[in-house]
Amino acid sequence: MNDDTEIGYKVRQTLNQGLDTIDNNVSRRLDLNRQAALENQRMSAGWLRLTGIGHVAELAEFVVFSNARTLLAVMALSIGAAGTYYWKALEQTQEFAEIDSALLADELPPSAYIDRGFNAWLERASDSSLQ
């Protein structure tokens, strides 16, 4: 421990002696660079603290671009699903138009098919004819 302290002390002494003999231009440039580095550090820390939304946007951008293929596949699937739904609905529309026009024009009215009383009466009639 004491050895370390001693070495540190000697290094500092040597550096301080070097500092006395350093060129003024070099010294000024070193100082300017140090100030600039400190300023940049303050700015980036402040940005991270204050602009949470921007950070989230950056993260979202990263997630989107790194998963672009998956997202494209999902979009293609969604378009396919919507297209299938549309196609099925249109097909059903045509089928219903055909059935409904025949059903509405038939001799037997639509109410005959949905009248539960008639249904029960038919069932009873068919039961009695079987007995």
Binding site: A82, Y85, E98, I99, A105, P110, F118
Partner: protein
């Protein structure tokens, strides 16, 4: 690892929202309003004049399809159709589905059976109103007891696919009616 998790989350989310997407994101089918119909179409679809603009695109398209077939019908068929249009449009999607299913199965029956059903309908109509009410109440009771039986019993395969335990969600709720 993170990408795999992202994909899994995305897949689950999509699976959950897929039905909503189909029903909600799909744009409505553009069909003419009542004022945009031709004079002939208005004449055929006159019983639906008040309902037309409230109908969705798929229903309008269906009725336009019916109006196309109207021209090739006999005069008595035309009269019957126009007389029944309003009541038909007011039925619930489930009732319309039931009527269509029964109509389709009757079409497969022999001409003798069809004649017999027509005669029975006439006979049924001649019954006193009290008798009709009694028959309807009897049918409702039977339906309720069948429903409670299917609820009490364990959900076997036959119960799940059986007509009494099948949820009454009609395909028409997302499609033309």
């Amino acid at each position: 690892m993170a990408r795999a998790r992202f994909r899994l989350i995305l897949a689950v989310a999509l699976w959950l929202v897929a039905p909503l997407g189909q029903a909600g994101i799909t744009p409505p089918l553009a069909q003419p309003s009542w004022s945009q119909l031709s004079k002939e179409q208005k004449q055929i679809l006159a019983p639906l004049a008040n309902e037309w603009d409230k109908m969705d695109g798929f229903r309008r398209k269906k009725w336009l399809g019916i109006s196309k077939r109207y021209g090739s019908m006999k005069s008595d068929e035309k009269a019957r159709m126009q007389r029944r249009m309003t009541d038909w449009a007011k039925l619930s999607p489930d009732d319309r589905k039931r009527a269509r299913d029964k109509y389709k199965s009757l079409q497969k029956a022999s001409p003798e059976t069809k004649d017999a059903v027509r005669k029975k309908w006439q006979e049924y109509n001649a019954l006193p109103e009290s008798e009709k009410k009694r028959l309807k109440a009897e049918a409702a009771l039977k339906k309720a007891s069948l429903a409670s039986k299917s609820k009490k019993s364990a959900p076997t395969t036959s119960a799940i696919i059986g007509k009494h335990s099948t949820p009454s969600v009609s395909t028409e709720q997302t499609a033309p009616q």
